[in-house]
Symmetry: C2
Subunit: 197 residues, 2 copies
Amino acid sequence: MNLEWRLILASASPRRRQLLQGLDLPVEITRTDVDETPPEGMPIAQVAEHLARKKADAYTTALAKDQVLITADTTVLLGDRLLNKPADAAEACGMLRLLAGRTHQVVTGVCLRTAQRTVSFSDIAVVTFAPLTEAQIAYYVERYQPFDKAGAYGVQDWIGYVAVERIEGSFYTVMGLPLHRVYRTLVDLAESHHIEK
Amino acid sequence: MNLEWRLILASASPRRRQLLQGLDLPVEITRTDVDETPPEGMPIAQVAEHLARKKADAYTTALAKDQVLITADTTVLLGDRLLNKPADAAEACGMLRLLAGRTHQVVTGVCLRTAQRTVSFSDIAVVTFAPLTEAQIAYYVERYQPFDKAGAYGVQDWIGYVAVERIEGSFYTVMGLPLHRVYRTLVDLAESHHIEK
């Protein structure tokens, strides 16, 4: 609304697509493939933003003046552990056992790039899970196959419904894209772009 | 999952329907019509639970042993004001001007009833809005017509994307049904029902 950007989302996540389309701006979907292994020695809270920038760097097509490339990465942090996407059902169940009855952090890093500039940031949300039974964990992993999700869960599906007791921060950051900050950055970019014209 | 309840949701809200169906239990939809005017003199934080019970009382069909009736009501509180559903566009814009740049409370009251007992509770979430421009408010009200929503906004649509900076509590309470507490109550009711059999 009142913004004339055309967005390019480079992401395989159907959740990010759905969210970004909710801004009522034109969105083109593509994806870039990068190695998502966290760099050795990088503090875990910085990994998401680093990977978001790396995904943007892998998009090498020139941007038109009215285009914004958007990339993002979401990580789940429990104490000093970084939980990635689980490789299989056993690892998914193990992650959910770790998260059950505890509070963890979700960090989503975002990178926005225009022809003129690149902006990136991280947004953090704190999520508290209720205790989970083994039967609940097994049911969820079997039925929802959360293998494309950091920490092995989706806040917008069954386990988010029954087990997430509390969030501090943005729900959409947990879902994979802090839309309020994406929107504010698009407004800022439009203003600076206008000034520079 | 592992629960054998059949749910009856008495609510006209499409959001509550969608959420409750996410528990993976059979859900029958109906509605009851009650006067939603808050009783004179009732503390505003108690109104939502009162109205949820009133909606349950208006459902007079007998419940089978495996059925649970669920009703709910959501209110938006800003200081000592209770914001209802807006009557028209002018009132909707006025509510959004009040909420913009401020923190408010959302209270969702829920009533669950079986053939044997009735349980009700309230759940509170705290929501912080970014400042909004007049153009943003006008766009939202015109395009999204938020006349069926307490406080004139939906946390799961455009304004929730661009303007909600922070939540403390359950996102689903803001959306209209605190599912984690509904689920826990269904588990508790199943256990007490089993004991009494």
